[in-house]
Symmetry: C2
Subunit: 411 residues, 2 copies
C-alpha cells in the first residue's frame, strides 16, 4: 500500500502532441502481463537523458548514451521482467537487436531508438519475444496511451506512477506528462528506476540537456541515495515542439512556468516512487538548511535517509532521535560543530525542536516526539548552523515487508 | 542465535598480570543486570586507543581522548544502558564525575581513568547510581574477572564476546585477553562497539599506538562500515608489562608472534560481533583481491557488505548475484573495467566462478549457486583485475529480525 498515493485517472494524463504509446503482453518473464512498451516520437523531437553512474551499467544504458549522441530520437522501447544488466557482450547484442527491430517496423534507423530494460539482473534478454510483441505495440500506439504505459513498465511497484500538468506559455497550451517506475528506496529493487517525461513545447537542445540534469537533481536525485544508483537508472525528457510554444533560452517568455511544470511532474513521480517504496508505511522528508553548500546539505539528508536505524525507528513511530543525531554525525562533514546543529521533527502543521547544543532540547518531551512520529507523513528539519544553503531528500521507513519483498523476490 | 559462536568458558580466558576486573548491578537502566564494570591497571601500564570519527561522538569518547594524552592510565570504567551521547555539556560533566568517583576510590587522578558508555543515546547518565555501584566493583576486582566483564558490557548482544591467547616470547609467557560488545552490523545498535584487549607484555608507547591502529584496521574496521562508525565506538589496547616480555620496536624478538596474537584476539572479537549481528543467520566474508590499493579493495568489500539487497538475498539463500555486481559497480571506482572483474561464491571447501567479462560465467549453473548459498558461512571472492592489493570485510545477512530488533528496541 503506497503512502498517500494513487495513480491518476487516465483522463488526468494530458496527451502530449507528437507522442504516442502502445503496450502489449510479450511474455518476457511472466504470462498475462503487459511488459513491452513502445513510445513513438514525432520527427523533430528533442530528447535528453541522465543515466546511472553504476560501473556495471546495463546494456540498454550504454546504447542510450550512444544513440543520444548520434541523432534524432524517434522511439523509446521499454521492457520489464529482465534488466539486461550484468549480461556482457551478449546483452549489448540483445539491446541492439531490439533497437533494430523497432527501426524496421517504424522505418527509422536503429540509432534513433532508445532502449530501456528493467527486471532481474544477469538473465538473458528474450529478444525473440520482444521482436514478436513489437508489431502489437505498434498497432496499439495512441496519444492517450500514458496510463497503459505507466502500468506496463512496473516491476514490484504496487501502483502505476504518472503525473501531468498543463500550462499556458506564450499564448500556447503546453502539456507535460510523465511516467516512472521503481519501488525501492535504499536501492531501487530489480535495480531500476525509470522515468519518462514528455512535453509538446519546443526546447533548444542545449537548454534541454541542462534542464534534464537540473530536473533530475530536484526530483529523482532527491530520492535515491547517490552511491546507490543502480545498473539501469534512466530519466529521459522529450520535447516534441508540436504545441508551438518554443523556449530558446532561460529568458524566453514563460520559461519559469514551464520549468516549474517539468520539475513538478518529475517531483511527483519521484515522490511516488518513495511513497510506493518497498514495504513503506511512512513518507519522510529530510530538509536540511544552514549548510555551506547544497551538496553538504544533501549529504546530511542522505546520511539520515539512508540509516537503517533511523528508518526502523520511523517504522516503529519511535522518537529515537539520537539515531538521527548519530546519522548527522556520520555524514562526512569533518568540521561540523555539533553544538550549532538544531533538529526538528514535524508532521501535520506541528513542528517540535528536539535537539540543540549537542543534546536534547530542554523543552523537548518524549510525548511530543511520539505524537509527531505517528502520522504517515513526517518532516525532519535540520539546521547545520554554518551557512545559508539548503537541500532535501525524500525517503520512506524500513519495515518487515522490505525484508520480505527482497528476500522473496525471484522465488 | 549467533552464527557459529559461543562465549569461551571462564577458564579459557587467561588472566593478564596487572589487570583486575570487577562488575556490579548498578541499576543504570534496568534492574537485576550487571551493568557497571571497573578495570584496574597496574602502575606503569601503557594504553592506546582508537575511537569513533562520528562528529556527534559521546562525552566519554571526548574524555578518553583527553586522558590518553595526559598521562598514565590506571583504570577503565564501563557502563551499559546509557550511551551518554547526544547529551551536550551535561553529558561531559557526567563522564567527568564518573572518572572523579573512580579516582577517589582508587586514590588516583581523574585523568588516569578512561570512561566508556554504551546504551541509549540522548538520555542523561545516572551518575549517582554509578557512584553508588563503584565500591562494589572495587570489592569484586579479580584477575579472573574477564568472563563476568564480558557479560556486564553487553547491550542487545545475545552472547558475551571474549577471546584469549597465550604465546611464548623471549623466554616469557605472554597473555593476550580481550572482550567486546556490539550486536549491530550495518550500524552498531545502541550506537556502540566497545573492544578492550590487554596483554602483560611491555610495549614501547609509540609502538603500542601504531599497533592499536593496525590491529583495529585488521579487525574491528573490517566489520563496521566506515561511514557508519557510531557515537561511542572505542577500541583500547592495554600493555601492563608484568610478564617481563618487552617489545621496544618491530625488530624485537618475538614481535611477529605477539602481533599475530593481538590481531588474532581482536579478529575473533570483531567476527563475534558479526556472528551475533542483529538478526544474523549467516556469516559472510567478502574477500577482494586484484585491487590497486587496499583501500579500494575495502571500499568494494564495504559496498557489497553494506547493500541491503545483497544482505536480504543472503538471508533468502538466493544466488541473486546480479545484486553483488550492482554493489561492486557502486563502490565509487570510477575507472573500474567491469569486463575484468571476476566473482566467486564459496562455502565449505567449494568455490564457484559466477561472473566474468561483465556478465554471468558460461559455466555457472544456478543450482551450484543455490548450493553454496545454503550454509551459515559464505565467502564472496572478488578479483578486480587491476592490481595486487587485497582487503576483506566480514558481514552478516539482513533478516526480519533485524527490523524487529531495531523497531522494538526501547519499547
Amino acid at each position: 500500500m503506497p503512502v498517500n498515493y494513487a495513480t491518476p485517472a487516465p483522463e488526468a494524463l494530458h496527451p502530449v502532441a507528437g507522442v504516442r504509446l502502445g503496450v502489449t503482453e510479450a511474455g518476457i518473464r511472466k504470462a498475462d502481463r503487459r511488459d513491452l512498451t513502445l513510445v513513438e516520437l514525432a520527427p523533430g523531437s528533442r530528447v535528453a537523458g541522465v543515466f546511472t553512474r553504476n560501473r556495471f551499467c546495463a546494456a540498454p544504458v550504454l546504447l542510450c548514451r550512444q544513440h543520444l549522441e548520434t541523432g534524432e530520437i524517434r522511439a523509446l522501447v521499454v521492457n520489464t521482467g529482465i534488466a539486461n544488466a550484468g549480461t556482457g557482450e551478449e546483452g549489448l547484442q540483445g539491446a541492439r537487436r531490439t533497437c533494430a527491430a523497432v527501426a524496421r517496423l517504424m522505418d527509422i534507423r536503429a540509432e534513433q531508438v532508445l532502449p530501456f530494460s528493467t527486471g532481474v539482473i544477469m538473465e538473458p534478454l528474450p529478444v525473440d519475444r520482444i521482436e514478436a510483441g513489437l508489431p502489437r505495440c505498434l498497432t496499439a500506439l495512441a496519444a492517450d496511451g500514458w496510463h497503459a504505459a505507466a502500468h506496463a513498465i512496473m516491476t514490484t511497484d504496487t501502483v502505476a506512477k504518472a503525473a501531468s500538468r498543463r500550462i499556458e506559455a506564450g499564448g500556447r497550451t503546453v502539456s507535460v506528462t510523465g511516467i516512472a517506475k521503481g519501488a525501492g528506496m535504499i536501492k531501487p529493487n530489480m535495480a531500476t528506476m525509470l522515468g519518462f517525461v514528455a512535453t509538446d513545447a519546443l526546447v533548444n537542445p542545449l537548454l534541454l540537456k541542462r534542464l534534464v540534469r537540473e530536473v533530475a537533481d530536484e526530483s529523482f536525485n532527491c530520492v535515491t541515495v547517490d552511491g546507490d544508483t543502480s545498473t539501469n537508472d534512466s530519466f529521459v525528457l522529450v520535447a516534441t515542439g508540436k504545441s508551438g510554444a518554443a523556449f530558446d533560452n532561460e529568458s524566453s517568455p514563460g520559461w519559469e512556468g514551464f520549468r516549474d511544470a517539468v520539475v513538478g511532474v518529475a517531483r511527483e513521480l519521484a515522490q511516488a516512487i518513495v511513497r510506493d517504496g518497498e514495504g513503506a508505511t511512512k513518507f519522510i522528508e529530510v530538509a536540511v538548511e544552514g549548510g555551506r553548500t547544497k551538496e553538504e546539505c544533501k549529504a546530511v539528508g542522505y546520511a539520515v535517509a539512508h540509516s537503517p536505524l533511523v528508518k526502523t525507528a520511523f517504522f516503529a513511530s519511535d522518537p529515537n532521535l539520537g539515531r538521527i543525531l548519530g546519522a548527522i554525525g556520520n555524514a562526512g562533514l569533518g568540521d561540523l560543530d555539533v553544538a550549532r546543529v538544531r533538529l526538528w521533527l514535524g508532521s501535520g502543521g506541528e513542528e517540535i525542536l528536539v535537539a540543540e547544543k549537542g543534546g536534547r532540547s530542554p523543552a523537548y518531551r518524549e510525548a511530543d516526539g511520539a505524537r509527531v512520529m505517528k502520522p504517515a507523513e513526517i518532516r525532519v528539519r535540520i539546521d547545520l548552523g554554518r551557512g545559508s544553503a539548503r537541500g532535501q531528500v525524500w525517503t520512506c521507513d524500513f519495515s518487515y515487508d522490505y525484508v520480505k519483498i527482497n528476500a522473496d523476490y525471484r522465488s
